[in-house]
Amino acid sequence: MAIRFYLILVVFLLSAIVSFSLYEDQVGLMDWHQRYIGKVKHAVFHTQKTGRKRVIVSTEENVVASLDLRHGEIFWRHVLGTNDAIDGVDIALGKYVITLSSEGSLLRAWNLPDGQMVWETSLHSAQHSKSLLSVPINLKVDKDYPILVFGGGYLHAVSPIDGEVLWKKDFTAEGFEVQRVLQPLESSIIYVLGFLHSSEAVVYQIDSKSGDVVAEKSMAFPGGFSGEISSVSNDKVVVLDSTRSILVAISFVDGGISFQKTHISDLVEDSGKAEILSPLLSNMLAVKVNKRTIFVRVGGEGKLELVDSLSDETAMSDSLPVADDQVAFASVHHEGSKIHLMVKLVDDLDTVLLRESIQMDQHRGRVHKVFINNYIKTDRSNGFRALIVMEDHSLLLLQQGAIVWSREEGLASVTDVTTAELPVEKDGVSVAQVEHTLVDWLKGHVLKLKGSLLLASPEDVVAIQEMRMKSSGRSKLTRDHNGFRKLFIALTRAGKLFALHTGDGSIVWSVLLNSPACARPSGISLYQWQVPHHHAMDENPSVLVVGRCGSDSSAPGVLSFVDVYTGKEISSSDIGHSVVQVMPLPFTDSTEQRLHLIADTNGHVHLYPKTSEALSIFQREFQNVYWYNVEADNGIIRGQGMKSTCSDETADEYCFTTRELWTVVFPSESEKIISTLTRKPNEVVHTQAKVSTDQDVLYKYVSRNLLFVATVSPKGAGEIGSVTPEESALVVYLIDTITGRILHRLSHQGCQGPVHAVFSENWVVYHYFNLRAHKYEVTVVEIYDQSRAENKNVWKLVLGKHNLTAPISSYSRPEMFTKSQSYFFPQSVKTIAVTSTAKGITSKQLLIGTIGDQILALDKRFVDPRRTLNPSQAEKEEGIIPLTDSLPIIPQSYITHALKVEGLRGIVTAPAKLESTTHVFAYGVDLFYTRLAPSKTYDSLTDDFSYALLLITIVALVAAIYITWVLSEKKELSEKWR
């Protein structure tokens, strides 16, 4: 009966025309899109009197953007390729933005107002080296100085007008490292300073017109240089020697070189290892010694003198020329919950031009970078604005003692995402909501009706849109009946946790992670720690953030527990061992805290939470806990089981040793692991049975312990153009992670990666490149259980002779068979995900993040191995689509519609309470959220449902009934009279 019901349901679902589609006026009703740029590396202000004031920034996400200085909005933005990191940015000729990227080998010019690329020049490069960009400040319009670029061992002079390379000079000599390229103003000589074998300073003088070397001078320095350098003026630099205790001023006036040594111990008393800070200050340099920042002035003959010393950790800006040949710089330091911004003159540190204190959110951390810009106030004095970059990557503009605008740029580097429920709406606590009167309600619906019948005037359309945006408290902070309101918890690279509301994308709370062991741990991953829904209902749900102190994988780990409702860090502990792998177990304790195992580099696993209750639960299931690890570099997959408690003296009772159960070793000369994937552990499968057309039943092989592995020939592991079809083969495996048994192996000759795969229920869909056809391909593999296939006979079911209730064990020999099919796909793919719903009844859609940073929703029916060229009538009724050689791209099924999720990296889906609906959250440089109904909202009325039309119909019906009743009564009366 249930099967029959299911069959009817399935037929009903499949027969519906399923396609995600959106009308243009529905944009923003269910979805939101946020644009970011990432952590700012360089900033150049453009604040001329005419035109809009803007700041040009380049970021660690390889973005070059122009921001509105008044509001912080993005005028234009370009996200460059992932291996096209920006080394420098500047403005040339007052109208072009110049960027140097790809280790100093690509120079591009962008039109300042609209961001159109004007020219692009590829520069010759031969070796890895520093990349330096120097754009001359044009003082005279008629004189046209070239842009000087050093990168890859070559110095290039490039015309700023068309990007033509005027001349280039080879500096690729053995052991020679160019450190600085300097060009004094109004001079035709360029100084190139470099170190030969880190012990000899060499200065070349180059004619800026022709690129010829005019003079060359060198001088050996017996101590050797550390490589840290600060240029203090056009003919002087200060470097640190290799012991980091002596500052050496090198001046190269008029072709000669002279050294002037100064011991740091002469400047400050308690000296240690010194570090030159990066800011460019004229005739001064900043040195960090023993956590103190000291300012050292460089005199005329290279004489160094200490002028100031700051105890606190301070961020400094480059120096900025202000009026009357004076040069100023800004410094920012913390004091409690406030930051102090000071602008001082370089020549006279006692003259403070500006002193401001600003209240700063503790969860932004310390100030990392400061950029300043000045403007002339109405009273002709200098005003300053400062752009600061905080530790959580956020970008703030400070002006006149206040934060003018801020951008949460941490969200451009999301590393992990999980979902959380909002609190239940309590009685008594009523969230402010203005209930409409009936007339208003009806008016609204009449408007909607007009809209849907295209009878609305433009003003009406605006009113409708406004009404929809405000409707139904979509951004309320409580749980709703359909589960549409949720929180997405995002962990960013800066170690900050954000909770985003699904309704409008607003940040509900954010918290910067802390640790007792190290100042700022880097976040790795997020887990659901406590989700009370049966017991411990009075406790708030919480998430577990696993981080580590330092970037090395053997660095000690840090666990943080964060309350989801309040955003407060409940506790944070330094766990004293490294974190390699975190495994959530399918057990919870009495307060619904989930048990987690954390594996360290020594091969031990540690149980969390460290309570005796958790230990007793774990000990009961001790024999049933298995895990595996993948060593992709060695081509080995190892299956592990629990052995005993740790015998080390330092270890506690929550530490366990493991034993190796099985290994799968791939031959390193022919196969290299490029992708591994398992099913999502929390995925719900509605039914194991799949009814085919001829009333036949197939049983899905649904196992949580399947691992999908893709390997390619080592030659084919590179980029697409690097291998011929004969040299490369792609092999995919399905491996049972309990026994290490290879359940299925499929080989694709002449194919290569990258492989993007998705694993759900009993199927895997993966995307790879076919070198023979020179096209991308998508293959689906479905796994079915053969051992249950005999249960088809009704009599067996009636007499109870079936094995449906027999337990499934990985140790029983699996009798399974697979079906697979391949299709062409006309685009590169960045990531693939699959929709997930509460009960798993709704049909699934693949969410394909394409190379154009769009997300395509592709129905699972298109990747069904039962597709044939000519499906029979019965198969057509079931919803089987005729086989085509390539998968269709229907523009209306882009869930991102006319938007792009720039720099797309991942897609996360989460079920809503309503079975038909799923939440989709995509992250990259941008964030995008929408709600999807893969089989349309069959269990609720759509927002478009016209209540007004329903009411009008009912009223019309009642009226009609009344009229007919009157007529009928009259007729009856007249009949009686007759």
Binding site: L22, Y23, V27, H774, I851, T953, T964, E972
Partner: protein
């Protein structure tokens, strides 16, 4: 710029002429040093006649080998990939509102980086690397203009339609029945007692 169809030079020449009419300038497709070459091409987007297309020329991206390098267009629509090794490569164009076929590009080492391009979707060879969209993409459903038919088709419309049929067409049907049979039927009904509409409504019963 050598013709692709080598077997029939005359035809190839004609094809070349044909292309020259459309794209007045010929492109230097490639040049470079011994092991790395340069691919230069052009993206042509026809002026759109679909309202609502807001593709900015400056946001069009050209992608080599699925993300190995990404470049943007110059104002004249030209793009260049530098330092490309000889071999077979894939170029994709990502432009909002248009669908471009990926292009298979063979950079030949023997012919000093001569570029041979083929559209992978249509298997059409290109004499020059000039990429044009295969089709425009409309991301939104277009609302059907208001029509009586759509109103009638809706569930409410069907209900009203059914009522109209019952009220106006049923009596017409009754008229067509043979008067004698009608009388017979009426008598039969009378014997059983006709449940008239007025007697069904409680208020009607009360008024009697």
């Amino acid at each position: 710029m050598t013709p692709i169809i080598r077997s029939s030079p005359v035809l190839a020449f004609l094809v070349l002429q044909f292309f020259l009419i459309f794209f007045a300038s010929t492109l230097p497709c490639s040049f470079g040093s011994e092991d790395s070459y340069t691919i230069t091409g052009r993206v042509k987007i026809p002026p759109s006649n679909v309202i609502g297309h807001t593709t900015k020329f400056s946001s069009v991206k050209v992608v080599l080998n699925g993300g190995q390098s990404v470049t943007l267009l110059r104002p004249d629509g030209y793009f260049t990939f530098h330092k490309v090794p000889a071999g077979t490569h894939l170029i994709e164009v990502s432009a909002m509102g248009y669908f471009f076929s990926p292009v298979r590009v063979d950079v030949s080492a023997r012919h000093h980086g001569k570029v041979h391009a083929t559209l992978t979707e249509t298997r059409r060879s290109l004499t020059e690397l000039v990429l044009e969209p295969l089709r425009e993409e409309q991301y939104y459903e277009i609302r059907e203009p208001f029509s009586i038919l759509s109103l009638v088709k809706s569930p409410m419309g069907l209900m009203v339609g059914f009522m109209v049929v019952v009220v106006f067409l049923m009596p017409k049907l009754m008229e067509n029945i043979d008067p004698e049979e009608m009388k017979q039927a009426q008598e039969e009904m009378r014997r059983q007692g006709v449940p008239s509409l007025s007697s069904l409504l409680p208020s009607a019963g009360a008024s009697r």
